[in-house]
Structures are given as C-alpha cells and as structure tokens.
Subunit: 214 residues, 2 copies
Amino acid sequence: MAYRETEKMRNRKVEARKRIFQCALECVMEGGFRSAQITHVARAAGVATGTIYRYFDSKEELFAEIFRSATQREVDKVAEALATEGSAVSRLETALRQFAERALRGPTMAWSLIAEPVDPKVEAERLLYRQAYARHFEQAIREGIEEGSIPPQEARQSSTCLVGAIAESLVGPLSPAQAEAEKKADQTNSPDKQQPLVDSIVCFCIQGLTGTGR
Amino acid sequence: MAYRETEKMRNRKVEARKRIFQCALECVMEGGFRSAQITHVARAAGVATGTIYRYFDSKEELFAEIFRSATQREVDKVAEALATEGSAVSRLETALRQFAERALRGPTMAWSLIAEPVDPKVEAERLLYRQAYARHFEQAIREGIEEGSIPPQEARQSSTCLVGAIAESLVGPLSPAQAEAEKKADQTNSPDKQQPLVDSIVCFCIQGLTGTGR
DNA sequence: ACAAAGAATGAACAATGATTCACTTATTTG
DNA sequence: CAAATAAGTGAATCATTGTTCATTCTTTGT
C-alpha cells in the first residue's frame, strides 16, 4: 500500500473545484458565456486546461453549472419575495419589481442569463429556469384567485406571459449595444431613468393579471 | 469583344439565386438554422458550395436574408390585421390571435424564427424584428389611447410586453421537445387543444392593455 | 471555330476551440 | 528512500464548418 486519498488531499481538491468554478463565473460576469473559453478559465484559475477536465466533464457541463447557480439565486429571490406577507397581487408586484431592478443593477450578467446566445446544454437550463420562474408566479396567481384579488384565469398561461413580458422588456435595456451607448452618455445606468421602465412593466403585468392598477 | 452579359444569362442568374434561396429556406423549414449548412443547401440546390458564394457574401448573410424574408411575412400579417376597421382593441386582439395561430400551424419554422439559437447576425435580425412587431403594436396602442378604448400608458413599453408575452407563451408549445411528444401522442397539433392556449394569451395581453376582457 | 469573359466546381484550406494523453510532478505509506 | 498512486500539465489532436481559389466548363461575339 502506498497512496490513499487523505483528508488534506480531499479538501485541496474541493478547493480546486471551487476555484475553477469561481473563476469561470467571473469570466462570464465579465464577458458573458461567449468569451468564457476553457483556456481563459484555466489561466484565471492558475491551472492547466487539462486540469479542468478532472473536475468537470465538459465545457458545456461546467457552464451549465455556472448558469444554474447564478439563476437559482434569482429564482430564490423571486420565491422569497412571493413568500412574504400581503396579498398575492402586492407580492407579485414586489417580486417583479425586484427582479427587474436586480437585473438592471447587474446588466452584463443578467443579459447573459436572460438573452445571450449560449450552448445547447446551457440553453436547455435556461428553458428549465424560465419554467421555474413561471411555476413560482403560477402558485402566487392561484393564491390570488383563491383569495379573490385576481380574477379566475389559466394561472399557468398567465405566469408564462409574465415571464415573457418582463424578460422581453429587459432584453433591450440589458443588451451590450445599449450598455455601450449608455457608457458614452452618462456615468452608469442611472436609476432615475430605470424607474419608469420598471414601473410600466410592472403595471402592464399586474393589470394583465387583475384588470386594475394603472 | 467576346462576352457580354446577355438577358438570358441575367435571368439564369436570377433563377439560380432564387433557387439557392428557396433551398436554403427549405433546409431551415425542415431542420432549423442549426442543420442548415452550406453543404446541405448546395446539395439541395444542385450546385457546388463555391457557387453559393457568388450569390451571397457569407453563410450568415444568406440566412439573415432567409430570416428577414420569413419574418417580414409575419410582420406584414400583423400590420395587415392592425390596419383593418374596428377599435384598436379588437384589431390588436385579432393581430395577436392570428400571430399565435399562424405560429402553431407551422411550429418548426415558427420555433426557428422565435426561439432557436442562431448565429449573431441572424440574432441581430431577430432583435430588429421584435422591435418591428413592437412598433406596430405601439402604433395601435396609441390609437387606442386616442380613441379612449385603452387607458393612457407607455405605449412603447406595453408593446414590448405584448411581444414578450406572446413569444414566451409560444416557446414551450413550439419547442422541438414538445413537437416530439405530440408526434407520439396524437396525429398533429390538434387545434382544439390550441384554442384555449391562444385564448388565454390574448386575454392576458388585452387585459394588460385595457384592464378588461377576462 | 475560336478567343474572351464569366460562371461553376469542389477539394484544399483556415479558423476556432474543445478535448485528449503521454509525460511530469506531488503525495502517501512501508 | 522507494514504490505506488494520483493530480497536474499543455502541446498536439480532433472535429466541425465556413470560405477560398486554381481549374474546368459555358456562353457570347466575330
């Protein structure tokens, strides 16, 4: 007997995996999935490209995991906002507003998660997560219908419309082209210009649900 | 003097371009942009790959043109539906309904146009065309506001929400995965199952606009 | 028929980037 | 220390596709 994985080694490996993951995430945050190449990630993490394949099966797998982790955070935030006190309508309103505001605050990453062209495996995750958002909204809509604050409707379909409306509304403002234009004009995304955008998205959504609120 | 482009030749070239274009379109209709490779198109059109580059600058250019042509048809249909007689609301309703029904009738192509991952140049066209849809809707919304059938609102933002809601609602039903499942179950997309889907999308949208209609 | 000009050809090429693997280095244990 | 085992390395390889271009085939006008 000569070598057996020891605790110290196990920890070191866990650390290495974490570091690779973290660096890959940073690559995406900086330049989107497009520019996140294995070579870059390897360099950033200070390992050889081959090493990455000891920890992840493939590039797609790695970035699917990145996507999942980043998006799950947002889904959780939505779920959280929907789990507070208050009427279903006001909770939905808060959740939508928060989602949009968070996206506009971190536009590069948000764009990557919402609209950037990505590998098929990552795209598959995206579809799944859009459904995840929709399911949370759906639940809240059902509650609203039950408590009478939302008229009876196909909760499933309405929730999908919600997801589509908010995503589409953000695509333009988040797009790299837009970001470029804003960098030239003023300092950064000024919140004062974003407020009305968010307001009108939320208005449309709530009214689509309830028939009131404008 | 020995050769000068003659009428006959000019026509033949126009024909050739059309044939290549048509075959490329058919490739997309069958398998989406993904499977539409230059080699395939060339084979389908009965020409060499090099010939294609006499008629189109690049693959992206060719498929961007395909995309434009196919999407313009849909935009025109929407514009047409919005240009009829009647209140803005009822025209919008018709336009939305027609759009969804057309997409569900040709799901493969619709999916390619709406949601398939595509080359950057084609993606750019897609963004442009989404704006084109939105602008038409926006115009109708303004008219509705003027005539009093739609309450005052940010027409621009609302139109974007419309586009997003309807697109997102269709992504699921149009996706190849879904198509696969339906092929197993029954014959094709049965219109009787689509009706409620379309209805609820349209309901949500109209209510989002007007606050009534459920 | 022949020369000039253009069109068509398709195999070779180029570019991109993920993945592999023969080899090196590090760790553990007797 | 030496044997055993695993982790790490990174240049080479592979795979995929779009694009080019030297060559061949067609058309046209004299």
